[in-house]
């Protein structure tokens, strides 16, 4: 049972420290390259597990007639059709370099069924989901920008200035200001707020994140945080 934790921990610490050192030493640079390749292989293997999980989850939703089982059926149908079309390279023409091999052509173009699915089904659906963001931004802004107290009022005014300053309306509204007061024009105020207050706050958060990343990595590499270790078997 000890080996169940000690072996993975030793691999994590050893490999992690080696990777960290290889970033600074040129002769060990190949380690990062190999790690990248191994990661791709492991990801590809894990994808099979993912596909299995997807099938199982949707099949059980359909068989139990859970709420929204119809969506599971559509997901499953789309998955299987895309899989068959893609793996079978259906409708792919031979490439000019290997005309004798029927499936040697590229299937990423919209002329092939696989490319068609990507271009005219997946892309528009993704764009539709992304477009919904506009409505979510509106509802979130409506809630966030209510002047409930002094701090919220400052936030509201600042947001108003920045929003106006980023549009042509902001330029037109304060274009009449004389040169000596140009700093008060909305577009300049907006740039000032974003460049000084926004950047300062953003950088402070970024420094904290960088240190947090370093500390988290060290906790894992030094074996202080072992919560990621599997305890299968009650170890």
């Amino acid at each position: 049972m000890i080996a169940r934790q000690a072996v993975p921990l030793a691999i994590a610490i050893g490999a992690g420290l080696l990777m960290a050192v290889s970033y600074f030493l040129r002769p060990l640079g190949w380690m990062s390259e190999s790690a990248s390749e191994i990661f791709n292989v492991v990801s590809a293997i894990a994808f099979v597990l993912g596909a299995g999980s997807l099938l199982k989850a949707n099949l059980s939703t359909i068989s139990r007639r859970d709420r929204g089982w119809g969506y599971a059926a559509v997901t499953l149908g789309a998955f299987l059709v895309t899989l068959v079309v893609g793996m079978g390279k259906m409708g792919v023409n031979p490439s000019p370099s290997s005309p004798q091999a029927a499936w040697s052509g590229d299937q990423q173009t919209a002329e092939t069924p696989f490319g068609w699915i990507y271009e005219f089904v997946l892309s528009p659906l993704s764009a539709t989901m992304f477009a919904l963001l506009a409505f979510f931004v509106a509802s979130a802004a409506f809630r966030a920008f209510r002047a409930k107290n002094a701090g919220a009022a400052v936030l509201l005014v600042t947001a108003f200035v920045v929003l106006l300053g980023r549009t042509y309306a902001g330029v037109v509204l304060t274009d009449w200001m004389p040169g000596w007061a140009s700093g008060l024009r909305l577009e300049n105020l907006s740039n000032y707020l974003m460049g000084v207050f926004g950047s300062a706050g953003n950088r402070a958060i970024l420094i904290g994140i960088a240190l947090g990343v370093a500390a988290t990595s060290l906790r894992i590499l030094l074996g202080l945080d072992r919560s990621w270790l599997s305890r299968e078997g009650g170890g």
Binding site: R26, W30, A51, G68, R231
Partner: protein, 296 residues
């Protein structure tokens, strides 16, 4: 999780080192990376010092984080309402440290959920994350003394496609109406869609990310948000172990060093502009710039 985390974290450095590693003319050590090596060693040493101090009975006092104190409340609410808890570990793979931090937090959430007898749903957008999340949830159920609470099908893969994943998760939110939503990891354009949908279904929402561009959306739409570094200390905070708390103290010590560098660097750079003839001021300014990896 192990393979993904270790290999994945090294992946980013691969492309950079690819061209140089085979050139025998170049020195073995990357001189330009010396400041980074010094900072890494410094933080590593500080971590060791504070961990030993903490072990000797001087654990640091960490300010309370409302978002983490609310974890129990959120899971308790889900138990009372008989609704599931939704945990979204971001949309990136295990080569992203935020995903690693998110999955670590999932372990803590799953443990509390197992103790309270609440169900945790974990849809993932990467197969490796699914495997890691299953490990974390299984370990948590074992640690809680309720191995039978582990249901692998509740941790499932959806798709790698960003907005297809969002469509699944938001649809599932509307149908299942989870009582608590945890959004912990790397998020991009989908952050507000997920958080607003959670808000509409009336869930208690706790979010955490290191993506600064997404933080305002989480702050606007969630009940609690772990901002940047808070997200990374969350695991240590929840564990309460002296070792891990000691590492948080090292993080704070490094932050004080950075603040000192910023203040001293600003003063020296300003003085170098005022007294342009003072060569030593320019040399000091250049040294401080190089010490933080900036170009002189």
């Amino acid at each position: 999780m192990l393979v993904g985390a270790v290999l994945g974290l090294a992946r980013g450095a691969a492309a950079e080192g690819e061209a140089e590693s085979s050139d025998p003319e170049l020195p073995a050590f990357h001189e330009q990376r010396l400041p980074l090596a010094a900072w890494t060693l410094g933080i590593g040493l500080a971590t060791l010092v504070f961990v030993f101090r903490s072990r000797r009975g001087k654990p640091p006092v960490i300010r309370r984080l409302a978002a983490l104190d609310a974890v129990d409340e959120a899971i308790g609410r889900a138990t009372e309402m008989g609704r599931p808890v939704l945990f979204v570990p971001g949309i990136m793979d295990m080569n992203d440290i935020q995903t690693v931090a998110g999955v670590t937090l999932l372990g803590r959430v799953a443990r509390t959920a197992a103790e309270y007898d609440a169900q945790v749903e974990v849809p993932t957008s990467r197969s490796l994350v699914m495997e890691a999340a299953r490990d974390a949830v299984q370990s948590a159920c074992l640690a809680a003394g309720r191995p039978e609470a582990y249901q692998p099908d509740r941790v499932h893969y959806v798709t790698d496609e960003q907005f297809a994943y969002v469509a699944h998760v938001t649809g599932s939110m509307v149908r299942e109406r989870p009582a608590a939503c945890f959004l912990m990891g790397t998020f991009y354009g989908e952050s507000l869609i997920l958080a607003e949908t959670g808000n509409h279904v009336g869930a208690i929402q706790i979010a955490g990310t290191g993506e600064t561009s997404q933080l305002p959306f989480f702050v606007a739409a969630c009940d609690y948000t772990l901002i940047g570094e808070e997200f990374f200390v969350a695991s240590a905070y929840l564990s309460g172990e002296p070792d891990q708390l000691g590492s948080v103290q090292a993080q704070d010590a490094a932050k004080i060093a950075v603040i000192a560098f910023v203040v001293i660097g600003t003063l020296v750079a300003t003085a170098a502009v005022i007294w342009a003839d003072a060569a030593w001021l320019h040399e000091t300014s250049d040294f401080l710039r190089s010490a933080v990896g900036a170009r002189p």
